[in-house]
Amino acid sequence: MKILVLMKQTFDTEEKIQVENGQIKEDGVRFVINPYDEYAIEEAIRIKEANDAEVVVVSLGPSRSEEALRTALAMGADEAILADDPELFGDEYTAAKVLAAIARQGNYDLILAGNQAVDDGSGQVAVRLAEELSIAHISTLTQLEVNGDEVVGHRDAEGDEEVVTAKLPVLVTAQQGLNDPRYPSLIGIRKAGKKPLTHVTLADLGLDKSSIGAKSAIVSTFLPEPKTGGKILQGDLAAQVAELVQSLKSVDKVIG
């Protein structure tokens, strides 16, 4: 069985965002594997451990993403692909085209991904890829089982949980709660350095720049108005609670 895991390197979620000249500043930022992708990697490794599979991780993004791919290799993935040629960068439409070209080179039975990235949070790329490859997909899984050529997934449908089945090949996306991702072991980290990590370019993938062009563009990036909170109520608790209820009702008019 061959498994492909889509992953992205993102800012740590505890990072503050700073914008300079309309761009998000990356200086001094701690990068991590997108937490949702981490579940996907962990799940792939567990399937490999139970079923004798091969796990390939792929990332489309800047060269710094190599560090995240090495972490995935240290966790237990077998091989990594990094599409860091800027000619391959665009929007979600572009990403799906690029990842489809990579996926087609591997004949994968199962593709795993996080259901969204914690940075742009658009949640489009994996599903677009399923469409591009004309394979079925199930998104936001909190549980996954592979039985022969069938998968059974528990999908988080906003409160409700759906039990969904599909035949391989299939693409599934991970939701929080799918598993508890492992930390790479020391042996894992040592082995990761020797595992193959291939950089691919537009030419390697046989893609034509004009056919993968972005369909959307970011016009500007800005920070929200700073929140001017900070009113701490005073007096004994009963008086504070009474004042709060009065304010919510009469001043803010958000209750009643």
């Binding site: 979620t13 505890e14 503050k16 965002i17 914008v19 998000i24 949702y36 979600e92 439409y93 799906a96 914690v118 949070g121 658009s122 489009q124 599903v127 399923a130 469409e131 394979i135 079925a136 997909h137 199930i138 998104s139 936001t140 909190t142 059974v152 449908a157 906003e158 409160g159 409700d160 949980e161 759906e162 039990v163 969904v164 089945t165 929080q176 709660g177 972005a214 369909k215 959307s216 563009a217 016009v219 990036t221 920070l223 929200p224 929140k227 909170g229 009113k231 109520l233 608790l237 504070q240 609670v241 009474a242 709060l244 209820v245 304010s247 919510l248 009702k249 803010d252 958000v254 209750i255």
Partner: protein
């Protein structure tokens, strides 16, 4: 510039969710004399077309089939594409919730279209449409323009106004028939487990009562649930509470988890980690209850009460019961 706008109704448990009206509001804003179509997909959904004209729909298409009773991407895509072919819209709106999030990228890639996810604002500038959307769960925002012929956007609930007055549009209902084949059902929903923990839907709730590590146990959510019941609110949680096993991950609010923008957010025993603040600080009014006066949550709170949530929350519930009686 006049536009044809297709709005996919967001149907949950046999009812239209509010965001459907919000999308119709946005659609009327950008149609500029064009046409607004409301599309109903499901089984037994015909009656939901009643009142669509007043909500801003010129036309309603209904695809009613047993194959659409439960959401599956391929069957919904087939039904959607049939409506697309018959209406040929310039703009497609879906809700940024379970179905829209899943179906929109599928349709967008098939149409070779750009998509804006989780839009909170739509503006018209001549022939162009600009969307505002959060990134990093609301730590920053981008303005995005879609350059493809068809523009697809998923709209976040609670952010765009529905039409204030009855539109009095025809809302003419047309039924489309779609023949489903085996290959249209590439995935099968075997079972739906409704979780008892979720009362009011978090992403669309007007009021949210949320608990953090300070709740101390699963049982510790009891006073929060009572407060939520009094207010008709949904119950959420911080990552700390979920990681500690006090509640289900489906309740988590934050950069990992759900991003919410209710009118009122009551944070109980939540310290206010950056990743949590990202998921809730766009709420209109924030109340924080925490024992630690230095907790960062107070910096974004409109009202802070320094105290033990197990003292404050029951008092607040009984005070509210009096005020709302």
């Amino acid at each position: 510039m006049s536009r044809k706008v297709l709005v996919l109704a967001d149907i949950r448990h046999g009812k239209l969710r509010n965001v459907t009206y919000e999308m119709l509001g946005a659609a009327n804003h950008i149609a500029e004399g064009g046409e607004v179509l409301l599309l109903l997909l499901g089984h037994g959904v015909q009656d939901l077309a009643v009142g669509a004209g007043d909500a801003g729909a010129d036309k309603v298409f209904v695809v009613d089939a047993p194959e659409l009773e439960k959401y599956t991407p391929t069957a919904y895509r087939k039904a959607f594409m049939e409506a697309y072919r018959q209406f040929s819209p310039n703009v497609i709106f879906m809700s940024h919730s379970a179905i829209g999030k899943d179906l929109a990228p599928l349709v967008s890639q098939r149409l070779g279209a750009g998509q804006v996810s989780d839009a909170i604002q739509v503006e018209v500038d001549g022939a162009a449409l600009f969307f505002t959307r959060p990134i990093y769960a609301g730590k920053a925002f981008t303005r995005v323009q879609v350059k493809s012929d068809v523009v697809v956007a998923t709209i976040r609930p609670n952010n765009i106004a529905a039409l204030a007055d009855k539109a009095g549009k025809p809302g003419t209902v047309e039924t489309l028939s779609v023949a489903f084949e085996t290959q249209d059902l590439a995935t099968m929903v075997k079972e739906i487990i409704q979780k008892a923990s979720v009362g009011v839907d978090l992403t669309e709730a007007k009021i949210i009562v949320s608990g953090g590590r300070g709740v101390k146990s699963a049982e510790g959510f009891a006073p929060l649930k009572e407060l939520a019941e009094t207010l008709g609110a949904a119950v959420g949680a911080s990552r700390g509470a979920c990681d500690a096993g006090y509640c289900d991950y489906s309740m988590q609010i934050g950069q990992t988890g759900k991003v919410v923008t209710p009118d009122l957010y009551i944070a109980c025993g939540i310290s206010g980690a950056i990743q949590h603040l990202a998921g809730m600080s766009s709420s209109k009014v924030i109340v924080a209850i925490n024992k630690d006066p230095e907790a960062p949550i107070f910096q974004v709170a409109d009202y802070g009460i320094v105290g033990d949530l197990f003292d404050v929350v029951p008092m607040l519930t009984s005070e509210l019961k009096k005020a709302l009686a």
